[in-house]
Symmetry: C2
Subunit: 301 residues, 2 copies
């Protein structure tokens, strides 16, 4: 039996093990599509914030498309639409890179997909896409987690060769629950306790209880790397490695927080059988059948 470099929720004790994969896959000397300083920060800290990458008129159009989708879907009873615990407010809409022409175009945008291709040094496709909306007053927190841990255990993503991009459609201020990350946490794999229960994804998208690092692991990582909040203007893009541990606090301000989230995976890193004993999660959480590599240079700006 093949050994698993990243065992988690297997009954083994929680601990930190070193990452076995590169962070930036681009070969030495390949010219980066953004500044080398940003790339270096991404490699060292596990994330970078590209402030105001999108001009205001583009953000306005995306926000409008987003509001329409949320309105259209708020009474939809579908697994692809997640509502806030205790309300009908739409919290997440999945698979927008396939269902919405506006977001399909955005996912293929050279500024995003081209950067992903550089970082992963491969053709890329969308592993997961979603629109996140954290309403004012009642937005709940997301606890600390590594996305890769879930994607590996529950989806069967073999290696750490995927990158997430969060495109902010509203300003992220310190008070409205901005994305928080633990710099440097991407260099370790935090083995999690417990065993994945059946249909975990139905509960975990509202409140994650498995696949979260222990407090001891989190303390160690924060002692090493500190904490970072991604306070930024709308139209910014937060790019983070698939394994960087992140979370966000609640939002009781009147200011909603909205973003578009794309996960670019390397074509060579397509998902296999999940590393847990459960059946694969549905297609809208993890592309398995519909793998469509993003064409190069399809969208010019």
């Amino acid at each position: 039996m093949k050994t698993d470099d990243y065992p988690s929720r297997t009954g083994e004790p929680a601990r930190l093990i070193p990452r076995q994969d590169p962070v930036v896959y681009a070969p030495q000397g390949a010219p980066p599509p953004i500044s080398q300083a940003d790339i270096d920060q991404f490699e060292q800290r596990g994330f970078m914030v590209l402030h105001k990458l999108l001009p205001e008129r583009e953000v306005a159009a995306l926000e409008q498309a987003s509001a329409q989708l949320r309105k259209h879907l708020q009474h939809e009873h579908s697994q692809e639409t997640i509502t806030e615990p205790g309300s009908h407010e739409v919290r997440s809409i999945f698979r927008i890179h396939e269902t919405s022409p506006v977001f399909k175009q955005l996912a293929r945008d050279k500024r995003l997909a081209g950067l992903a291709r550089y970082l992963l040094n491969d053709d890329v496709y969308i592993h997961q896409s979603r629109l996140n909306y954290k309403p004012g007053f009642c937005g709940k927190e997301f606890y600390w987690h590594s996305d890769f841990e879930t994607w590996h255990v529950e989806d069967g993503m073999p290696r750490m060769r995927a990158v997430s991009m969060s495109i902010t459609l509203t300003d992220n201020i310190a008070e409205n629950g901005p994305l928080m990350l633990i710099p440097g946490s991407h260099r370790y794999f935090a083995v999690c306790e417990g065993i994945t229960p059946e249909n975990h994804h139905l509960a975990s998208l509202k409140k994650q209880e498995y696949g979260t690092p222990t407090e001891t692991c989190l303390k160690t990582l924060v002692e090493q790397g500190g904490l970072a909040s991604t306070v930024c203007e709308k139209g910014s893009v937060i790019v983070f490695d698939c394994n960087t541990i992140h979370g966000s606090n609640s939002n009781m301000t009147p200011f909603p927080r909205s973003n578009v989230f794309f996960v670019y995976n390397a074509l060579s890193n397509q998902v296999v059988t999940p590393f847990c004993a459960q059946p694969p999660r549905p297609e809208h959480l993890c592309a398995r059948q519909n793998i469509e590599p993003i064409p190069m240079e399809i969208s010019q700006h």
Copy 2:
């Protein structure tokens, strides 16, 4: 029947009504115990932060006393000790100005009590005292509220003539759920909806559901005054008017947040029969029998 200047939870619709009381009661020309600029800010914004008022050795002694109390009381089944929802972590300990010699002395400290006496232009006593401890990883949020609203409705505090002081025993950073306030909100009384249920305080100290302003009122106040987070070092004192609307986000960082909280009330503003139809709350939440004016100049530094 006497009319109530500050009706709330009476079945009337939610709205903002102007404050009928002064903010700073000190007569014109009385020399302030701190800078006039700080006093002006308190009057205009409804709060001020006195950064690092207490030197490090004092903070260390207070933090030690606080940790001992929390440890001593964590398995105590008492109304004066509130645990975190879903755990045994101690969240609040009440009446520390009577039960702990260390905190009794702090409550009478000239730097705090003398300032309260100046702001309220009267003898002062402790209406409520407590130790707040928001543990790392699992600290839950406190939703927006005006303390005066509760103290008026549930305790029978007649006028807005009380001031709260929060002495920080840990650093308040942007990420660990620092006190947030709505500047200028103290100039309005936000009439709240609903009717106070029986024994409301047993639930409200964990999660407040009555006595919270509506989203419309909050939006109006934030549009006017914005939002402020009290990021500050340990040993700072956050002084806020009894009617300034405040709250705090959850804390999922490894950094606990701990503070001592004293409410100084003017002796002339002692509580009467509550303005709701319920019996008075217990003594540890609202001093009614044990009114002991703080002697002037008892503690010198």
